[in-house]
C-alpha cells in the first residue's frame, strides 16, 4: 500500500474517531430530554446526522409538536442532499453500494471525500470515515444515554444546559462565513423569540427559517460554496 493511501486511511480514522466521540453528547442530551436509551440509539443508527438528531430531541424535549420536530430535523438534513449530489459524482457507486453509501453522507464524510484528488482515494476516504464514525458514534450514543438515564432528574435537568451550547457550537462555523449568515442567524433567533408566546411549542423554530428570505437566495449570482465549511468540528 503506498504512502498516499496510508495517509488517507490515517486521516479518515482520526476524523471518524474524534467526531464519533461526540455521540456521547447526543446520547446524554437525548436521555436528558426524556427519550429512552433505545430511542436515542435508533436516531444514531438510522438518522446518523448530528444536527438533525439534536434538533429532534431538542424540540421534543422542550415540549414541541412532533411535526415541528420532524420539520426541523429534515430541514437541517436537507444539506446532506446537497452533499449527495457532489459525492455521487465523485464516488460513482451504483446499486446496493449506493444505497449503503447514502447512509454515510454527512458533513464529515463529505468534507474528507471531496478533498481527495481521484476516485480511488475518494472511495477509500469515504468508506473508512463512514465505518469508523458510524461505529464510534453509535457506541458512544449508547454509553451517553445509559450514563444519563442512571442519573436523577436534577442532574438530567442540568444536562439540558448543554443542548443550547451544542446548537451554538454547530452554528459557530457558519457565523464565521460572512455577514449574510450572521444577519440570517439574528433574524432567525429574533423571529423564534418573538413568536414563542404566540405559537405552539416547536413552531417558532420553523418560522425562523423565514429569515432566509431576507437574504434573497433566489437572486442569480455566484452559486453557493461547494461542500461543507472547513474546520467544522461538529457533526
Amino acid at each position: 500500500m503506498d504512502d498516499e493511501r496510508r495517509r488517507v486511511i490515517a486521516d479518515a480514522l482520526s476524523l471518524g474517531l474524534s467526531v464519533g466521540l461526540y455521540g456521547a453528547a447526543f446520547g446524554a442530551a437525548g436521555a436528558a430530554a426524556g427519550l429512552t436509551v433505545a430511542q436515542c440509539c435508533v436516531l444514531s443508527l438510522v438518522a446518523f446526522t448530528g444536527a438533525s438528531q439534536f434538533a429532534v430531541i431538542g424540540v421534543l424535549g422542550t415540549g414541541g409538536s412532533p411535526v415541528a420536530a420532524l420539520a426541523g430535523g429534515w430541514l437541517l438534513g436537507a444539506r446532506n442532499t446537497l452533499y449527495g449530489l457532489q459525492l455521487a459524482r465523485q464516488l460513482r457507486w451504483t446499486g446496493p453500494r449506493r444505497l449503503l453509501a447514502a447512509h454515510g453522507v454527512i458533513d464529515e464524510t463529505a468534507a474528507i471525500t471531496l478533498a481527495q484528488p481521484d476516485r480511488s482515494r475518494a472511495r477509500l476516504a469515504f468508506a473508512v470515515t463512514f465505518v469508523t464514525l458510524y461505529a464510534v458514534w453509535n457506541l458512544t450514543t449508547l454509553a451517553g444515554a445509559l450514563a444519563v438515564s442512571g442519573l436523577g432528574p436534577t442532574a438530567r435537568a442540568a444536562l439540558d444546559g448543554m443542548v443550547p451550547a451544542a446548537f451554538l457550537a454547530l452554528l459557530w462555523p457558519r457565523l464565521r462565513m460572512g455577514w449574510t449568515e450572521r444577519w440570517v442567524a439574528l433574524g432567525g433567533a429574533g423571529l423564534a423569540l418573538a413568536t414563542t408566546p404566540f405559537a405552539p411549542p416547536g413552531v417558532p423554530v420553523l418560522l425562523a427559517v423565514l429569515a432566509v428570505l431576507a437574504a434573497r437566495p433566489w437572486r442569480s449570482g455566484p452559486a453557493g460554496r461547494p461542500g461543507p465549511a472547513r474546520g467544522e468540528a461538529a457533526p
Binding site: G61, G73, N80, G161, E181
Partner: protein
C-alpha cells in the same frame, strides 16, 4: 404521534434525504437559488434552536440554569475551545447554577 413514531419517521426521512442527493438526476436539484436556500436554512434554524432551547419553556420565555450553560458555551467558543470543551463547560455551568439555586 408517539415519541417512537417521531424517532422512526425522522430517521427514515433523514436517510431518504441523503439518498435523494445520491440518486436523483443532478439537474433537478442544482439550482443556485435552491442551493443557497438549503445552505442558509440551517443557519436560521440553528440560531432559533439556540434561543428556544435556552430560554423557551412551552410558550413562555424563562431564565433558568440553561442560560448559564449557554453563556459558558459562548465564552468557550469565543476562546476557540474545541467542541467537547464547549459542551463540558456548558453542562458544568448549568449543573453548578442548578445546584446553587435549586
Amino acid at each position: 404521534m408517539s415519541t417512537w413514531t417521531v424517532v422512526v419517521v425522522a430517521s427514515v426521512g433523514c436517510y431518504l434525504l441523503k439518498l435523494a442527493g445520491m440518486a436523483v438526476p443532478p439537474q433537478w436539484l442544482e439550482r443556485p437559488g435552491l442551493r443557497r436556500t438549503v445552505e442558509l436554512a440551517p443557519v436560521a434554524l440553528l440560531a432559533a434552536l439556540v434561543v428556544v432551547q435556552a430560554f423557551g419553556s412551552g410558550r413562555d420565555l424563562v431564565l433558568d440554569p440553561r442560560a448559564a450553560g449557554l453563556l459558558a458555551g459562548l465564552v468557550a467558543l469565543l476562546l476557540r475551545a474545541p467542541f467537547l470543551v464547549v459542551l463540558l463547560a456548558a453542562a458544568a455551568s448549568a449543573a453548578a447554577v442548578q445546584v446553587l439555586t435549586g
